[in-house]
């Protein structure tokens, strides 16, 4: 069953002669429990596509349907709630909150929805254990290595049991070995939890860790 369906999505910036087409008639779907790698060079529209699926950008045309619900027409406030409750985002630059420890960065997610309970803390510590950084739970981001920060960022995205994980260049700041480990770890969690994952990457080797690969060039699926 397709959890995510993207149909004829286009995105243009500017107007008149200055119009720039970032995406053109992009169509694809992703099954529950699978991982889709969006592969393409810099400037191909990968991040724009990820932003549209996240509800951070409105498409110029086309439809995005998640679990039968169109999400491309939502207001900013509705989109924020949708990201908070349904989406887990892993940023290329991690965007960990510098003044929160690793475990507190994970607890930020339940705090956005209200308050973090003892159960949330136990869950956060469990996730950090799963990612092999349990002993680093109380360390601040600046005390962690790049790989550790990436794992904290992924654990944070998993904290609210999202239906869809959106992962932006997860290996851009890692060496090949660590990058491969991170992608493998990500794949395990996605399949083990019946969620859907869109991973943007420009690295063919990392894309091989996904179930399917969607190639984007100049905003088009090729």
């Amino acid at each position: 069953m397709s959890l995510l369906e993207v149909s004829d999505v286009s995105k243009t910036y500017g107007s008149g002669r200055g119009v720039v087409t970032a995406l053109e008639d992009v169509t694809f779907s992703v099954e529950t429990g699978s991982m889709l790698a969006i592969l393409g060079p810099s400037g191909s529209g990968k991040t724009t596509l990820l932003s549209i699926v996240a509800g951070l950008l409105q498409p110029t045309s086309g439809r995005i349907v998640i679990d039968g619900q169109p999400i491309h027409l939502r207001s900013q406030r509705e989109a924020a709630l949708y990201r908070r409750d349904k989406i887990g985002i892993v940023f290329q630059d991690y965007h960990l909150i510098p003044y929160l420890s690793a475990v507190e960065n994970l607890l930020l997610m339940p705090r956005l929805a209200g308050r973090a309970t003892r159960a949330h803390r136990e869950k956060a510590l469990g996730l950090l254990e799963e990612f092999g950084i349990g002993e680093r739970a109380k360390h601040a981001p600046w005390e962690l290595s790049g790989g550790e920060r990436q794992r904290v960022a992924i654990a944070r995205a998993l904290m609210n049991d999202p239906e869809i994980m959106l992962v932006d260049e997860p290996t851009a700041n890692l060496d090949t070995e660590r990058g491969t480990q991170v992608v493998a770890m990500l794949g395990e969690h996605v399949r083990g939890r019946d969620m859907t994952c869109l991973m943007v990457t420009h690295d063919v080797r990392m894309a091989e860790g996904a179930d399917r690969v969607l190639r984007l060039v100049d905003g088009r699926v090729v």
């Binding site: 400037g43 724009t48 950008l57 924020a80 908070r84 940023f91 510098p98 003044y99 930020l108 929805a113």
Partner: protein, 384 residues
């Protein structure tokens, strides 16, 4: 929680912001207290009279130097409808030969109610003839309780039995005396002036004393419950001006202009302080644009981000307010007694409330920034 965590993480940065807020609060409070001190120094003895209304001679400035009420006037006031009690307050200029330096000041004669003078040293109550209770700022002239000072050129002596506080008039410490002493001083002053300035045959001192007996500058009135100052004014004829002690304090002796000036100083200092506080929080918000974009991208509402900012402002302004109050009190304590500094809790409370209000208003600029931060920029890294 985020607000507190960030403060704990960046202690130095936020300590400096709290210090800056504290300095703004201290500046505003010190100026407020100095302004109040000026007003108290100018008219404390007038405004602090224990009365609901002060009755002045009609058609004069509302100051003690110009007003003159006869015994009959005071009796007329005392018997007016709505008056529960009335006592006379006489004013006379005196020159004091003090240990440090001779100075000119004012003596107030009260027909009663010396209990209204708060005693900070010595023993209060009705002074005997030749005794006085003086505002404590006279200490700066080297006068202490128990001293006997000589008044020049009239040659009278007054023994200081107690110090009171906040009882200055036109920036000079007031000497409170009983009516016998007041009348003696007044007659001696008039006689002395006439002796120095006239070749004419002088009336005897006894005659002058008789002529001024019972005369005072104003009548201090306590009203029956439910009677207003306006009703008393209506009950008396046009020969009198009736005002509250506070109104009297802010009238005459150039007070309206001075009050306008000190209020202007306070407003300017406050506006600048408020802008500084607002700009601080605006800049800290601008520095966190990337972080706020990421939190919004994760699903935080603008309200969530703004709540964190407000919590941070509340914590920092509270820290700044405590620090500023301490600094202002310290500044006041280190000032010499003669320096005008009169911290009033009500005015300082208003100052603090306004600081919180202005910090909140300043936070609205930050809110505007928060609303404008596009969460999509968290994913944006030179690609479309």
């Amino acid at each position: 929680m985020l607000a507190l965590s960030e403060i704990v993480h960046s202690k130095l940065k936020f300590a400096l912001i709290a210090l800056a807020i504290g300095l703004v609060v201290a500046l505003t409070m010190t100026l407020s207290a100095m302004s109040e001190g000026l007003v108290t120094g100018m008219t404390g003895a007038k405004g602090n009279l224990d009365a609901d209304a002060l009755v002045f001679q009609g058609d004069t400035y509302l100051n003690f130097e110009r007003s003159l009420l006869t015994t009959e006037d005071v009796e007329q006031i005392r018997s007016a409808e709505g008056v529960a009690q009335a006592y006379g307050v006489g004013h006379v200029y005196i020159s004091v030969d003090a240990p440090e330096e001779s100075f000119d000041t004012h003596a107030f004669g009260l027909t009663g109610d010396f209990e209204q003078l708060p005693v900070v040293e010595g023993v209060g109550g009705m002074p005997q003839d030749g005794e006085t209770i003086v505002d404590e700022t006279v200490r700066s002239e080297g006068v202490e309780v128990g001293d006997t000072v000589t008044l020049t050129p009239i040659g009278r002596e007054l023994t200081v039995i107690a110090f009171t506080e906040s009882r200055r008039y036109v920036m000079a410490p007031v000497f409170y005396v009983n009516m016998n002493t007041y009348e003696d001083l007044r007659a001696a002053s008039m006689f002395g002036v006439m002796a120095e300035t006239s070749d004419a045959e002088l009336p005897s001192a006894t005659h002058v004393t008789d002529a001024v007996e019972g005369n005072v500058s104003v009548a201090a009135v306590k009203l029956d419950e439910g009677t207003t100052v306006e009703e008393l004014a209506a009950a008396l004829d046009d020969d009198f001006d009736v005002v509250t002690p506070d109104e009297a304090a802010l009238a005459g002796n150039g007070m309206p202009v001075m009050v306008l000036a000190v209020n202007g100083i306070q407003v300017v200092s406050f506006v600048i302080g408020a802008l500084v506080i607002g700009v601080f929080f605006y800049i800290t918000t601008l520095h966190k644009t990337g972080q706020i974009a990421a939190i919004k991208a994760l699903g935080a509402s603008n309200a969530f981000v703004y709540r964190q900012l407000l919590a941070q402002i509340l914590l920092l302004v509270t820290a700044g307010a405590l620090l500023g109050t301490g600094l202002a009190l310290g500044a006041g304590a280190s000032m010499p007694p003669a320096m005008a500094f009169d911290p009033r809790p009500d005015r300082w409370s208003v100052t603090l409330a306004l600081v919180y209000l202005m910090a909140f208003v300043g936070s609205l600029f930050s809110l505007r920034s928060i609303l404008k931060i596009d969460p999509a920029t968290a994913l944006d890294h030179a690609e479309h």
